[in-house]
């Protein structure tokens, strides 16, 4: 719409003469003039609703006075608006008094009523209801989110907000918009997944759809998470683009796929941690206060959900903590290999806990302490001196009740009992603790198989990428020019990963520096004397390395393109093609030698 076509209207609000565009509501104009009109059911991103009537103002048009809701009443030329006339105040008081009768405990209502000097109601008071039926949630879900997961049920005084058939709304995308707009806190987002959350933040995923990826991200520009962005889920919302003054929001931006031609590739695709839900005996996801080492790291971080405080699910400080080593590692049931890093990080966790809760009882339940590396053993010794209890025996089970007859139950219902066999004492033990931290092992990245397929490299039985030679070529793969580094190749700690990464980079650079690649001299070659031009080889070559010389009527193999599979050699009916290093006579000689 062109600016010029908008009609400007003159009006007076509380004695201030102003202009407004045709179609604007009184409330919009008043907001512009910083005139405060109270509202309860209004939010500028949903259509005016006119349910709470608190925004009622007095207008005078052509000498006639009326009370109208400012949120939905459109300005008219020559209109005189009084937002705080005696009549208006009287009305608001009456309405607030009515609200107080039903919503006496609702903060937003009480506050507003108090502003108008209404602290008690003359009307019969009812048990306080949290929902004031403002309908913001319903409208947000409809107009902004587009999910329509909420609606009003029944009518009149029985009216209330609910989901379809009072059940779990299928169309709900769990965006939390309803809870966000709810002025009374009546709507909360409940985590109904099986994992009881330790931190709401963890359970809800990455904060809001728009966020700066992580603290100190460069560039420090917020991104929109397309998986949780309402607009990208339902096509609704779009509020951010409405409020962004520089107009920097672009929903059309897509992930783009860039194709690059490269000479060498380093695969450093990392790992994922073992999911302890697979080991049900440890109660992860089932018991509060059983967390993974990574979750501890998150909590321990100064910008984490607890600001670095080490607390239990109920917010209290744990006085005893068990750190269980080798969860998912060195275990025939899950992964047989040692994840290499867990011993050291478990020691670090113990140290951090000692710092945060100096009087806590800290137990490390280990199979073997594996501390090779610079300064590692020394750190272990330091921990021993810090009074951490080391128990040689793997944690077997975590439960809420003691299972061993010998265990004396502790008079606290929030204790967790960690069962283990203390192999040094030679007896089973059960430790009552406040919190259990599972030192989860390292596993190949979730898409390792896919990556291996794409890059045509091999994986080891445990799923990590296979190096060309475990000792002599630990960063090479069987595919020339493809290198692996870090945990993609197998569990390793940061120094090892850095070393391997540097080595892989150097190897890749050496290829770049050389500028040319030495091929193994095992390509195939056509004997032009024998070749009759039957073209069978042209059909079989997957690389198009064979061309046909029409003049000589023979096939010709391009050495640079030939990858030396030898398929054409076998296929050549006249035996005109031979593969260097793998010609028929050589193979037959091998055969003869083997069968001698």
């Amino acid at each position: 719409m062109e600016e010029t076509s908008v009609k400007m209207l003159k009006l007076t609000i509380d004695g201030i003469e102003t202009e407004a565009r045709e179609g604007e509501t009184i409330l919009q104009v008043a907001e512009r003039l910083m005139i405060d009109i109270p509202t309860l059911c209004h939010w500028k991103f949903v259509k005016p609703y006119g349910a709470c009537r608190i925004c009622t103002v007095e207008i005078e048009v052509h000498g006639k006075t009326r009370m109208v809701p400012s949120c939905s009443y459109k300005v008219r030329d020559g209109m005189v608006v009084k937002t705080r006339s005696e009549e208006v105040i009287k009305h608001r008081k009456m309405l607030l008094e009515l609200m107080l009768a039903r919503h006496s405990q609702v903060e937003v209502v009480r506050k507003l009523a108090h502003e108008y000097g209404v602290d008690t109601t003359r009307f019969e008071e009812m048990p306080s209801e949290q929902c004031i039926n403002c309908g913001l949630c319903v409208r947000v879900c409809d107009e902004v989110v587009g999910a329509n997961a909420l609606t009003f049920v029944k009518r009149g005084t029985e009216r209330y907000v609910s989901t379809p058939f009072e059940g779990e709304a299928e169309s709900c995308i769990a965006c939390g918009a309803c809870a966000y707009v709810c002025p009374t806190g009546h709507i909360t987002v409940q985590d109904i997944r099986d994992r009881k959350y330790v931190f709401s933040e963890l359970a809800l995923g990455p904060t809001t759809p728009i966020h700066i990826p992580f603290a100190a991200a460069i560039p420090g520009i917020p991104v929109i998470d397309s998986h949780t962005c309402i607009h990208m889920q339902t096509g609704g919302c779009g509020i951010c683009s409405k409020v962004c003054e520089p107009d920097a929001i672009d929903y059309e931006m897509q992930d783009t796929f860039e194709e690059m031609e490269v000479g060498s590739i380093i695969l450093a695709t990392g790992y994922k941690t073992f999911d302890p839900k697979r080991a049900e005996q440890y109660g992860y996801g089932r018991l509060d206060n059983v967390i993974t080492s990574l979750e501890f790291e998150h909590m321990s971080h100064a910008s984490g959900p607890t600001g670095g405080a080490f607390v239990k699910a109920d917010g209290s400080e744990p006085k005893s903590v068990a750190i269980l080593h080798c969860i998912g590692s060195r275990d025939k049931n899950y992964n047989e290999y040692c994840s290499r890093v867990c011993c050291m990080y478990s020691l670090k966790i113990a140290h951090l806990i000692r710092e945060k809760v100096p009087d806590a009882d800290i137990y490390e339940l280990y199979i073997d302490m594996r501390c090779p590396g610079s300064g590692y053993e020394e750190f272990y010794n330091r921990l021993l001196e810090e009074g951490v209890h080391f128990i040689r025996g793997k944690g077997v089970e975590v439960s809420q009740m003691p299972t061993l007859a010998t265990t004396t139950p502790v008079a606290s219902n929030s204790k967790l009992y960690v069962k283990c066999e203390d192999t040094l004492l030679g007896m089973p033990r059960e430790l009552p603790v406040d919190m259990v931290i599972l030192s989860v092992g390292l596993e190949p990245a979730a898409d390792a198989e896919e990556v291996a397929r794409v890059f045509k490299i091999s994986s080891k039985a445990d799923g990590f990428f296979m190096e060309k030679h475990p000792k002599l070529a630990p960063i090479d793969t069987l595919s020339d020019g493809i290198f692996i580094a870090g945990c993609a190749q197998g569990p390793k700690d940061i120094p090892d990963s850095v070393a391997q990464g540097a080595a892989a980079a150097a190897a890749a650079m050496s290829l770049i520096d050389a500028g040319e690649v030495a091929l193994e001299p095992i390509t195939s070659v056509v004997d032009e004397e024998v070749c009759t031009g039957c073209k069978t080889c042209l059909v079989v070559c997957p690389y198009g390395a064979i061309s046909f010389d029409e003049e000589k009527h023979v096939s010709v193999i391009n050495d640079a393109l030939c990858k030396a599979c030898g398929c054409c050699v076998a296929a050549c009916p006249s035996g005109a093609i031979t593969q260097r290093g793998f010609d028929d006579t050589q193979i037959e000689a091998e055969l003869a030698a083997l069968l001698m």
Binding site: M466, C567, A571, F582, L595
Partner: protein, 158 residues
């Protein structure tokens, strides 16, 4: 292995029927997958019978059926060809050629009076070291049960 050494060292045992027939099997292994698997199986100390003698090829599609026939003619009791899984050929499509050739070869060999188990085509990826050892073990046992082929005895005049 123990069997063989024992048999060699104590001639007395040779006279007994209990001497086990040790088949000679030629294995044509693709460098990229099954050969790598055999390597890994070795470094992983996986056990499998020593009856398969391995010839490394760059791709299973290098295996000319003539090699197989030659192997049998020269005295092999079985031939194993192993390559990458279909669709995962290092050379894009080589193993499809192998599949077709070996299939046709098996059909032909059947007419020559070969038991099906004497020639075997397997897809073994580099990671499948257990499959590799399983295939070797299984094939050795099967060929052992079939008995020696002794192809030359078919036609070499006595």
């Amino acid at each position: 292995m123990a069997d063989i050494t024992t048999a060699e060292k104590s001639p007395a045992k040779l006279t007994k029927e209990v001497v086990r027939f040790e088949p000679r099997i030629i294995g044509f292994l693709c460098w990229w997958c099954s050969y790598a698997a055999s390597d890994m199986a070795g470094t992983s100390r996986l056990k499998y019978p020593p009856n398969v003698s391995i010839i490394r090829v760059m791709c299973s599609s290098r295996v000319d059926p003539a090699f197989v026939m030659r192997a049998f003619a020269e005295g092999a009791d079985g031939v194993l060809i192993a390559g990458c899984h279909l669709g995962e050929c290092h050379y894009v499509s080589g193993n499809y050629k192998t599949a077709a050739r070996i299939s046709l070869l098996k059909k032909t060999l059947a007419q020559f009076g070969f038991e099906d188990d004497r020639i075997r085509l397997e897809w073994i990826s580099a990671g499948e070291i257990r499959k590799f050892s399983k295939v070797i073990t299984d094939m050795t046992e099967k060929v052992r049960n079939l008995g020696p082929l002794n192809w030359r005895e078919n036609f070499e005049p006595k």
